[in-house]
Symmetry: C2
Subunit: 91 residues, 2 copies
Protein backbone atom coordinates (compact mmCIF):
# COMPACT_ATOMS: atom_id res chain seq x y z
CA UNK A 1 0.00 0.00 0.00
CA UNK A 2 1.42 3.37 -1.05
CA UNK A 3 0.06 6.17 1.08
CA UNK A 4 1.00 8.64 -1.62
CA UNK A 5 -1.05 6.84 -4.25
CA UNK A 6 -3.99 6.46 -1.89
CA UNK A 7 -4.07 10.11 -0.84
CA UNK A 8 -3.57 11.30 -4.42
CA UNK A 9 -6.49 9.13 -5.44
CA UNK A 10 -8.66 10.54 -2.66
CA UNK A 11 -7.64 14.13 -3.47
CA UNK A 12 -10.05 14.36 -6.40
CA UNK A 13 -13.76 15.08 -5.73
CA UNK A 14 -14.95 12.99 -8.67
CA UNK A 15 -13.02 10.00 -7.37
CA UNK A 16 -14.42 10.47 -3.87
CA UNK A 17 -17.91 10.58 -5.37
CA UNK A 18 -17.21 7.31 -7.15
CA UNK A 19 -16.23 5.83 -3.80
CA UNK A 20 -19.45 7.12 -2.27
CA UNK A 21 -21.40 5.41 -5.05
CA UNK A 22 -19.56 2.11 -4.65
CA UNK A 23 -20.18 2.31 -0.92
CA UNK A 24 -23.83 1.62 -1.71
CA UNK A 25 -23.40 -1.13 -4.30
CA UNK A 26 -21.05 -2.57 -6.91
CA UNK A 27 -21.46 -0.91 -10.29
CA UNK A 28 -20.26 -1.27 -13.87
CA UNK A 29 -18.02 1.35 -15.42
CA UNK A 30 -20.94 2.53 -17.54
CA UNK A 31 -23.31 2.89 -14.59
CA UNK A 32 -20.69 4.90 -12.77
CA UNK A 33 -20.03 7.12 -15.80
CA UNK A 34 -23.78 7.86 -16.10
CA UNK A 35 -23.69 9.60 -12.74
CA UNK A 36 -21.19 12.20 -13.86
CA UNK A 37 -21.16 15.08 -16.24
CA UNK A 38 -17.97 13.85 -17.80
CA UNK A 39 -16.95 11.69 -20.76
CA UNK A 40 -16.50 7.96 -20.28
CA UNK A 41 -12.74 7.93 -20.89
CA UNK A 42 -12.28 10.41 -18.07
CA UNK A 43 -14.22 8.21 -15.67
CA UNK A 44 -12.29 5.20 -16.89
CA UNK A 45 -9.09 7.03 -16.06
CA UNK A 46 -10.38 7.89 -12.59
CA UNK A 47 -11.31 4.24 -12.03
CA UNK A 48 -7.83 3.24 -13.08
CA UNK A 49 -6.34 5.69 -10.58
CA UNK A 50 -8.53 4.30 -7.81
CA UNK A 51 -7.60 0.76 -8.75
CA UNK A 52 -3.87 1.48 -8.84
CA UNK A 53 -4.20 2.93 -5.35
CA UNK A 54 -5.91 -0.28 -4.28
CA UNK A 55 -9.14 1.50 -3.34
CA UNK A 56 -11.34 -0.38 -5.80
CA UNK A 57 -11.36 -3.78 -7.43
CA UNK A 58 -12.69 -4.74 -10.85
CA UNK A 59 -13.98 -7.91 -12.38
CA UNK A 60 -15.13 -8.51 -15.91
CA UNK A 61 -18.59 -9.97 -16.40
CA UNK A 62 -19.29 -10.45 -20.08
CA UNK A 63 -19.21 -7.07 -21.77
CA UNK A 64 -19.26 -5.27 -18.46
CA UNK A 65 -16.59 -4.55 -15.92
CA UNK A 66 -17.90 -4.43 -12.38
CA UNK A 67 -16.19 -2.19 -9.88
CA UNK A 68 -16.31 -2.62 -6.11
CA UNK A 69 -14.75 -1.02 -3.05
CA UNK A 70 -11.71 -2.52 -1.37
CA UNK A 71 -12.07 -1.33 2.19
CA UNK A 72 -8.82 -2.92 3.36
CA UNK A 73 -6.86 0.09 2.18
CA UNK A 74 -9.10 2.49 4.08
CA UNK A 75 -8.34 0.54 7.23
CA UNK A 76 -4.60 0.98 6.64
CA UNK A 77 -4.91 4.72 6.11
CA UNK A 78 -7.06 5.06 9.20
CA UNK A 79 -4.34 3.34 11.19
CA UNK A 80 -1.85 6.01 10.12
CA UNK A 81 -4.32 8.77 10.95
CA UNK A 82 -5.15 7.37 14.33
CA UNK A 83 -1.46 7.13 15.08
CA UNK A 84 -0.94 10.76 14.12
CA UNK A 85 -3.89 12.17 15.99
CA UNK A 86 -3.52 9.71 18.84
CA UNK A 87 0.06 10.60 19.71
CA UNK A 88 -1.24 14.11 20.27
CA UNK A 89 -2.94 12.96 23.43
CA UNK A 90 0.30 11.74 24.97
CA UNK A 91 2.05 15.12 24.89
Amino acid sequence: MSATLVFKALADPTRRSIIDLLKEKDMTAGEIAEQFNMKKPSISHHLSTLQTAGLVLSERSGQHIIYSLNTTVFQDIMMWMMNVSGKENEK
Copy 2:
Protein backbone atom coordinates in the same frame (compact mmCIF):
# COMPACT_ATOMS: atom_id res chain seq x y z
CA MET B 1 -12.88 21.61 6.19
CA SER B 2 -12.26 20.85 2.54
CA ALA B 3 -11.59 17.16 1.99
CA THR B 4 -9.91 17.97 -1.30
CA LEU B 5 -7.41 20.31 0.33
CA VAL B 6 -6.73 17.86 3.15
CA PHE B 7 -6.13 14.89 0.86
CA LYS B 8 -4.01 16.97 -1.52
CA ALA B 9 -1.93 18.06 1.43
CA LEU B 10 -1.51 14.47 2.63
CA ALA B 11 -0.64 13.25 -0.87
CA ASP B 12 2.95 14.49 -0.62
CA PRO B 13 5.54 12.38 1.24
CA THR B 14 7.47 15.41 2.47
CA ARG B 15 4.32 16.85 4.00
CA ARG B 16 3.45 13.55 5.65
CA SER B 17 6.96 13.45 7.10
CA ILE B 18 6.44 16.94 8.48
CA ILE B 19 3.28 15.68 10.14
CA ASP B 20 5.17 12.74 11.60
CA LEU B 21 7.71 15.17 13.06
CA LEU B 22 5.05 17.43 14.56
CA LYS B 23 3.37 14.38 16.04
CA GLU B 24 6.34 14.19 18.42
CA LYS B 25 6.66 17.87 19.29
CA ASP B 26 5.98 21.40 18.09
CA MET B 27 8.80 22.78 15.95
CA THR B 28 9.91 26.01 14.31
CA ALA B 29 9.99 26.33 10.54
CA GLY B 30 13.79 26.22 10.66
CA GLU B 31 13.93 23.07 12.78
CA ILE B 32 11.57 21.38 10.38
CA ALA B 33 13.56 22.50 7.34
CA GLU B 34 16.77 21.08 8.88
CA GLN B 35 15.29 17.60 8.71
CA PHE B 36 14.92 17.68 4.94
CA ASN B 37 17.22 17.71 1.98
CA MET B 38 15.35 20.63 0.52
CA LYS B 39 15.66 24.43 0.50
CA LYS B 40 13.83 26.46 3.12
CA PRO B 41 11.38 28.11 0.73
CA SER B 42 10.19 24.70 -0.40
CA ILE B 43 9.52 23.64 3.17
CA SER B 44 7.84 26.97 3.83
CA HIS B 45 5.57 26.27 0.90
CA HIS B 46 4.75 22.80 2.21
CA LEU B 47 3.94 24.27 5.62
CA SER B 48 1.66 26.76 3.96
CA THR B 49 -0.12 23.95 2.13
CA LEU B 50 -0.57 22.04 5.39
CA GLN B 51 -1.85 25.13 7.12
CA THR B 52 -4.33 25.98 4.37
CA ALA B 53 -5.67 22.44 4.69
CA GLY B 54 -6.05 23.03 8.43
CA LEU B 55 -3.66 20.23 9.33
CA VAL B 56 -1.18 22.44 11.16
CA LEU B 57 -1.30 25.66 13.12
CA SER B 58 1.38 28.32 13.44
CA GLU B 59 2.22 30.92 16.02
CA ARG B 60 4.96 33.50 15.92
CA SER B 61 7.33 33.62 18.87
CA GLY B 62 9.85 36.39 18.38
CA GLN B 63 11.92 35.62 15.32
CA HIS B 64 10.56 32.10 15.12
CA ILE B 65 7.34 30.67 13.87
CA ILE B 66 6.26 27.58 15.75
CA TYR B 67 4.24 24.94 13.94
CA SER B 68 1.99 22.39 15.62
CA LEU B 69 -0.47 19.70 14.56
CA ASN B 70 -4.19 20.34 14.43
CA THR B 71 -5.63 16.91 14.99
CA THR B 72 -9.24 18.05 14.65
CA VAL B 73 -9.04 17.75 10.90
CA PHE B 74 -7.72 14.19 11.09
CA GLN B 75 -10.77 13.29 13.14
CA ASP B 76 -13.06 14.68 10.43
CA ILE B 77 -11.31 12.74 7.68
CA MET B 78 -11.44 9.56 9.74
CA MET B 79 -15.18 10.02 10.08
CA TRP B 80 -15.54 10.00 6.30
CA MET B 81 -13.30 6.95 6.00
CA MET B 82 -15.12 5.03 8.69
CA ASN B 83 -18.39 5.79 6.96
CA VAL B 84 -17.04 4.47 3.66
CA SER B 85 -15.49 1.32 5.01
CA GLY B 86 -18.24 0.81 7.57
CA LYS B 87 -21.11 0.77 5.09
CA GLU B 88 -19.34 -2.13 3.46
CA ASN B 89 -20.30 -4.36 6.35
CA GLU B 90 -24.01 -3.73 5.85
CA LYS B 91 -24.16 -5.07 2.31
